[in-house]
C-alpha cells in the first residue's frame, strides 16, 4: 500500500469508530421518528417509556382509516412522476442544445434560469392563486400541481442535464452526424443511452424535490390534488401533542423517498455539482 494511504493502528480503529458514531448521531432523529410512530400518543411523551414500550400499529391504521393516506400518497406519486417526466421532456432538448451548440448567451441563459429559483414564492403566491383560480380555472387540479412542480424544478433539471451532457465528448455527437443521424436520432440513439445514468439521477432528484415540495402544493390544492405535504400540514399541530400519530404520518410521508434516496445517492453527486466535482 502506498504510504499516502497508510494508517497507524490508532487511526484504523479510532476514525472508523468516530465515523460510525457520527453516522448514528446524524441518523438518530429519523430513527427516533420511526421508533415513536410505533408508540401510542400517551407513551410517546413519557420518559419511562423512552425505549421500553409495547409497539403498536395503531397510528398507522388510524392514519389509513381516518386520514385517507392512500389518496394523498397517490397524488404525490402521480404528480411527482408526471412532473419529473415533463421536466425531462422539456429539459433534455434544452440542455442538449445548450451543451452541444452553445452560443455566447448560453451561460447567461443558464444563470438566469437558476436565478428564477431564487424568487421568493411568497411574493407571487397571491397572484398565482388569483390566476389559477379565476382566469385559468385549474386550481386544485393535478395538472396544475404537475405544471408547478415541473416549473419549480426545471432550472435544476436543466442545470443537471447540462452538466451531464457536457461530459459527453462532442466528437461522439459529431461522429453520429457523420454517420448520418438526424437531431432526433442524436438524442435517441446517442445522447439518451449515453447520459442514461445522469438522466436517471436527475429524474430521481427531481422526483425527490417534487415529493418534498410543500409551499406550492399545499397552497394550490384543496382536495383533488392534495399531496402528502398537505397531509403533513393537516397533522402537524393537532390538538394535544400526538407524537405517535405525527410520527406515523411523517414516517409514511418521508419513508418512500428516503429509501429511494439511499439507492441513488451516488449518482446524485455528479448531477448536483454540475459536473464540477468528479
Amino acid at each position: 500500500m502506498a504510504i499516502v494511504a497508510e494508517q497507524s493502528r490508532f487511526s484504523r480503529i479510532f476514525w472508523p469508530t468516530l465515523a460510525w458514531i457520527t453516522a448514528i448521531v446524524v441518523f438518530f432523529p429519523i430513527f427516533w421518528l420511526v421508533f415513536t410512530s410505533f408508540k401510542t400518543d400517551a407513551d410517546a411523551v413519557k420518559p419511562e417509556f423512552l425505549f421500553k414500550f409495547t409497539p403498536t400499529l395503531e397510528n398507522y391504521s388510524n392514519m389509513v382509516d381516518n386520514y385517507d393516506y392512500w389518496r394523498f400518497a397517490g397524488n404525490s406519486i402521480i404528480t411527482s412522476v408526471f412532473a419529473t417526466i415533463f421536466a425531462l421532456v422539456v429539459g433534455v432538448p434544452c440542455a442538449y442544445a445548450m451543451a452541444f451548440d452553445p452560443t455566447r448567451a448560453t451561460k447567461d441563459v443558464l444563470m438566469w434560469m437558476l436565478s428564477t429559483k431564487m424568487l421568493p414564492a411568497a411574493a407571487v403566491l397571491y397572484p398565482m392563486t388569483f390566476l389559477t383560480k379565476n382566469f385559468l380555472g385549474i386550481y386544485d387540479t393535478k395538472f396544475l400541481v404537475i405544471v408547478v412542480l415541473m416549473l419549480v424544478n426545471l432550472p435544476i433539471v436543466i442545470w443537471m442535464l447540462f452538466s451531464y451532457f457536457k461530459e459527453i465528448p462532442k466528437e461522439i455527437i459529431e461522429a453520429g452526424k457523420m454517420d448520418g443521424v438526424d437531431t432526433w436520432g442524436e438524442i435517441k440513439e446517442i445522447l439518451i443511452p449515453l447520459a442514461w445514468g445522469g438522466i436517471a439521477s436527475t429524474a430521481l432528484l427531481t422526483f425527490i424535490f417534487c415529493w418534498n415540495e410543500a409551499y406550492w402544493t399545499v397552497r394550490l390544492t384543496t382536495t383533488d390534488a392534495a399531496t402528502l405535504s398537505s397531509l403533513i400540514e393537516g397533522n402537524r399541530a393537532p390538538e394535544g401533542l400526538f407524537f405517535g400519530r405525527l410520527s406515523a404520518v411523517s414516517t409514511a410521508a418521508i419513508g418512500p423517498i428516503v429509501v429511494l434516496g439511499w439507492f441513488c445517492q451516488k449518482q446524485l453527486v455528479r448531477g448536483l455539482t454540475f459536473g464540477a466535482v468528479k
Partner: protein, 407 residues
C-alpha cells in the same frame, strides 16, 4: 340521483376530525358526498382567506372563527344563514350567536364554542393549603402558583400560553389586559398598547409565567400545555374551556377566570363555526349540511356513535346540550364551562369600540395581533424588557392601523 358533492375545509382538531366519521351517516342518508380538507389553523386561515377573497369557490363549507365571521359577513364573502324552525336558533348561546353575526344576521353556525377558565389541581392546592375561587384576584392566583410551584418534582405552578400568535398567546394576554381594564384600541381605533393598563397586565403576566411557569413557555400554546398538563407537570392552567374534556389527570377543579378589578373580558369567547363562501356553487346543499352539523341532532349523533360518546360531543354552543344528564355525568366541567360562556361579552362597548373579547373583529387584527404577539413572546423569554416590547408593539400596531386608513 343526487350528485351533490361538498368540499369542506376544517381545522385539524379533535371535534372536527370526529365529524368526518359521524358525517358518514349524513352521506348515507342524503347521498351528499363530503370531501374533507383538514389543515393546520394558520394554513387553513391563509387558504380560506385567499380562496374567499378571490371569490374562488373551492370550498362549499369552511371552518372560520369568531374573528372572521362578522368581517366576512360584512364584506359579503360568506352567505347569511337562515335555518328552519327545527334548528331552534334560540337554543344557541347568545354571546356565541352575537359574535358570529353582523348587524343581527347570522353568518356562521357555531360548531363548538369555548370560553376560558382556570383548571387547577385540587390535590396540590390542598396540599399547599391554598384555595382558588371563581373570579379570583390575580394576586391570589399568583400566590397559589407560588405555593404549588415545585420544579424539582416536575410540577410548575402555572402553565399559560406563550407561543406567539394572535390566537395563541394574545388570546390569553388580551383577557389579562381586559381584566386590568385595558383594551386594544381607543374609540378612534388608535392602539393603546402603551397604556398603563397594558403595562401592568404584561408585567404581571411575564412575572407570573416567567417565575412559576415551565421552561420554554414562549413556545407553548394549547397543544403543548395540554400535553404538559396531562403529564402532571402543571399545577394550574388557564385556557380554553374545551381543554377540560381532554384532561386525563385526576383531581382537577375548575374556577372562573381571575381578574384585577375588571371582570368584563377576563374570560375569552371563541367558536369554530361553519360558513358558506359566497362563491360556492352548492350553497343550498352546504347550508343544509351546516344545519345538520350544528344541530341538536348532531350532538345526539356523536353521543350515540359507537366510536364516541357523550364525552366527545361538541360543547359550548347550545344550552340544550347541558341539559342532558349523560353529558353532565361525562363532563364534570360542564357547569363551569357554561358559566364562563354566558359571562363572556363580545359586543363593542365604551371601553372597546370593537367586537370581540380577546381579539378585534377587524380585518387588520391578525396582522396587529401577530406583531404584538411576537413582542410579548420576546418579553416573556427576556429578549426584551416589557417596556421595550410594549413600545415596539404600539409602534407596529400604529403603523398597521394608520396604513389601513383608520386615521
Amino acid at each position: 340521483i343526487n350528485a351533490a358533492e361538498l368540499t369542506i375545509a376544517i381545522v385539524n382538531n379533535g371535534h372536527m376530525i370526529n365529524m368526518q366519521k359521524v358525517a358518514e351517516a349524513y352521506t348515507a342518508e342524503t347521498g351528499v358526498e363530503l370531501n374533507w380538507v383538514s389543515l393546520e389553523e394558520g394554513v387553513l386561515r391563509e387558504q380560506v382567506t385567499s380562496d374567499t377573497a378571490t371569490g374562488g369557490g373551492q370550498y362549499d363549507v369552511i371552518n372560520i372563527g369568531m374573528q372572521e365571521a362578522p368581517i366576512w359577513g360584512a364584506a359579503g364573502w360568506i352567505e347569511p344563514l337562515e335555518f328552519g324552525a327545527d334548528y331552534d336558533i334560540e337554543d344557541m348561546l347568545s354571546p356565541i350567536r352575537n359574535g358570529l353575526s353582523h348587524n343581527g344576521t347570522l353568518y356562521a353556525a357555531p360548531f363548538y364554542g369555548e370560553s376560558s377558565m382556570v383548571m387547577y389541581r385540587k390535590d396540590l392546592t390542598d396540599a399547599a393549603g391554598v384555595t382558588i375561587s371563581d373570579s379570583d384576584n390575580w394576586n391570589n392566583i399568583k400566590a397559589a402558583a407560588a405555593a404549588i410551584h415545585n420544579p424539582d418534582d416536575g410540577v410548575y405552578g402555572v402553565c399559560l400560553r406563550g407561543k406567539p400568535g394572535w390566537g395563541d398567546n394574545m388570546a390569553f394576554i388580551t383577557t389579562v389586559v381586559n381584566s386590568f381594564g385595558g383594551a386594544w384600541f381607543d374609540k378612534d381605533m388608535r392602539p393603546t398598547i402603551d397604556s398603563d393598563e397594558w403595562r401592568a397586565a404584561i408585567n404581571f403576566y411575564v412575572d407570573l409565567l416567567g417565575t412559576y411557569g415551565p421552561p420554554g413557555s414562549e413556545g407553548n400554546s394549547f397543544n403543548e400545555i395540554l400535553a404538559l398538563y396531562n403529564e402532571g407537570k402543571c399545577g394550574m392552567w388557564i385556557d380554553a374551556t374545551i381543554a377540560a374534556s381532554f384532561l386525563e389527570v385526576d383531581g382537577v377543579a375548575y374556577a372562573q377566570s381571575p381578574h384585577a378589578g375588571n371582570p368584563v373580558g377576563a374570560n375569552w369567547l371563541w367558536a369554530w363555526a361553519m360558513a358558506v363562501p359566497a362563491g360556492s356553487p352548492n350553497a343550498d346543499e352546504a347550508k343544509k349540511f351546516i344545519e345538520w352539523a350544528t344541530s341538536k341532532d348532531y350532538v345526539l349523533a356523536v353521543a350515540n356513535h359507537p366510536d364516541f360518546g357523550w364525552g366527545s360531543v361538541p360543547t359550548g354552543t347550545r344550552v340544550s346540550t347541558y341539559a342532558h344528564q349523560e353529558f353532565l355525568a361525562a363532563a364534570p366541567f360542564a357547569e363551569a364551562e357554561m358559566m364562563a360562556l354566558q359571562s363572556a361579552a363580545p359586543e363593542a362597548t365604551e371601553v372597546k369600540p370593537y367586537v370581540g373579547v380577546q381579539f378585534a373583529a377587524i380585518p387588520e387584527f391578525p396582522q396587529v395581533g401577530s406583531a404584538v404577539a411576537q413582542e410579548m413572546a420576546a418579553a416573556l423569554s427576556g429578549a426584551k424588557s416589557v417596556d421595550e416590547a410594549l413600545a415596539a408593539s404600539q409602534a407596529a400596531a400604529d403603523a398597521i392601523m394608520s396604513e389601513a386608513g383608520y386615521y
